[in-house]
Amino acid sequence: MIVRSVRVGHFRNLVSQTIQLSSGINLFVGGNGQGKTNFLEAIYFQSTLRSFRSARLRDLIQHGSENAEVESGVDSEGVPIRLRVFIDGQVRRLWLGGKAVRSAGEYLGLLRAVAFTPDDLAMVKGAPSLRRRFLDRAAFLFQASHLDDVRDFQTALRARNRLLQDASGRSSDVELESFTETLAACGARVSTNRSRLLQRLESSVASILNRISEGRLEARIRFEPGWRMGEGTDLEGETRSLACQMESKLRRDRKRGSTSIGPQLDDFEVLLSGDSVRRLASQGQQRAVAVALMLSVVEEIVSSGGESPVILLDDVSSELELRRRERLFELVSEFGSQVLVTSTELDLLGALADDASARFQIESGRILPIGG
């Protein structure tokens, strides 16, 4: 998947302009606060209709402007397409070619991108919500419906929690049961998708880790669902089981006014030769594992015959040691993916800077190609 050109209009601090990208490695260099992350965010938003900074839609609109837009010319499965998103206050409008698109479902998946930011580097050690965010973004790349499953799950969870908090006892038991069962159906789907994803990534993570880190380590991934889950093979069975587990916690849940078990507590652990990376590994190793997780997603897509997503690497170079950084960039080059990398200094990019097919300078939101 290749983004040929991007036109941004009133997006964050970016000057309204059209950028022609190379199909290989694109470098964006500039000081802090110049708009590097904003530009990657624009492309990520074009792909997923979300920001990787979990911002509200209106944060993306340039201060003093009423709307923002991003339009890209993309080669998707060898077919040139034109994607356009327009943000008008709270509303988002989509176009494919010249035609307005009514549902996000028709749009999502046409441009696939993975983003990797300093936040993601902290994923292994950080809060479980960071790991769930990784799982959900990655699962979405294999199965676009995963985002709907997560959204439905969250809606159902909020609804059930509201019923649990209803101290007046106005809500009937039958109503609560109905929402519990609906929540269980969405929840079983979410955890099952996440569990399948990790099974799929495990061997890639291990092999990538051995390529970017020294030594031979046996890497395993253990999914830790926030409820007692079976094999995840029988969705209806899992749904019934989750509903039962929620029912059995009903008294406690009413007391605390929220649902105490379920996918909202899902987590995973990476083990290196049997040891928990979260608890025992060095910060350098933990970051290497985070990189391996991200790259395993790309490798899985490519090895199953899919088109590589566009890889967005924001400022990761300053956070990784030189040796790992160079291996990371080598691997990324091997995938033959289109890559957009940002850095405050060209030097930090090492050999990647030499392989780059296009370089840009970003200053005060203006993006200019650098010759050479």
Binding site: T155, A156, R158, A159, R162, S171, S178, F179, T182, A185
Partner: protein, 204 residues
């Protein structure tokens, strides 16, 4: 903004009508002034007829006392049509869903409009919906209730709730077959898809 718009903004009556129109779905300030200017440039009879008909609409059109469909009579033309199969009741969220199923010409039973779905986050519980009136209808000769609420979280939970209330009465409860687009309300679904969803409905 053009100067014309500003004049409209200053005038009391025009401003009031513009505000009223903007409360309608899909009408913003521009559409509101376009509609208003169109009314003004048509013969005066048109505007008067429009305003009288709107008044009649709100005074004389009410939910049918049986099914909740909008009607000028106490009971709507569907509920009083002797050719309809009164052993079958299809439950929908809103009037446009009922109209969409009618337009498919695939269904000959009766309807029940809930006028909403269970939505705890918006304070909509069973009392806010026409659920008790539905249960009251189930005494005489009703064989099957078809639940055609949407596939959203709230639509699914509402269907489960209705099943739990109705199934103990010994009546078959079924759900429309898949084929309705995800999150897609019946209103936006074409007739042949609705026909297939009805034919392939499953007992739950």
């Amino acid at each position: 903004m053009v100067d014309g718009d500003r004049d409209i903004g200053r005038s009391g009556i025009m401003e009031r009508l513009s505000r009223l129109l903007q409360q309608l779905p899909g009408v913003g300030p521009k559409t509101a002034s376009r509609l208003m200017l169109a009314i003004l440039s048509a013969p005066a009879e048109y505007g008067r007829a429009l305003s009288k008909t709107v008044a009649d609409l709100v005074d004389k059109v009410h939910p049918c006392e049986i099914c909740g469909m909008l009607s000028e009579r106490k009971r709507c033309t569907i509920c009083t049509d002797p050719r309809r199969d009164s052993s079958l009741i299809c439950v929908v969220e809103r009037v446009p869903d009922l109209l969409a199923i009618e337009a498919s010409h695939e269904y000959r039973g009766l309807y029940h409009v809930l006028h909403g779905v269970l939505n705890p986050l918006e304070g909509a519980g069973p009392e806010q919906l026409r659920i008790d009136t539905l249960v009251e209808r189930l005494g005489a000769g009703v064989r099957e209730v078809i639940l055609a609420t949407s596939s959203s979280v709230e639509g699914e939970a509402t269907a489960l709730y209705l099943k739990k209330r109705i199934a103990p009465l010994g009546i078959t409860v079924s759900r429309l077959a898949a084929g309705i687009p995800v999150g897609g309300e019946l209103e936006y679904t074409d007739s042949s898809t609705i026909g297939r969803a009805l034919a392939g409905r499953k007992e739950i």
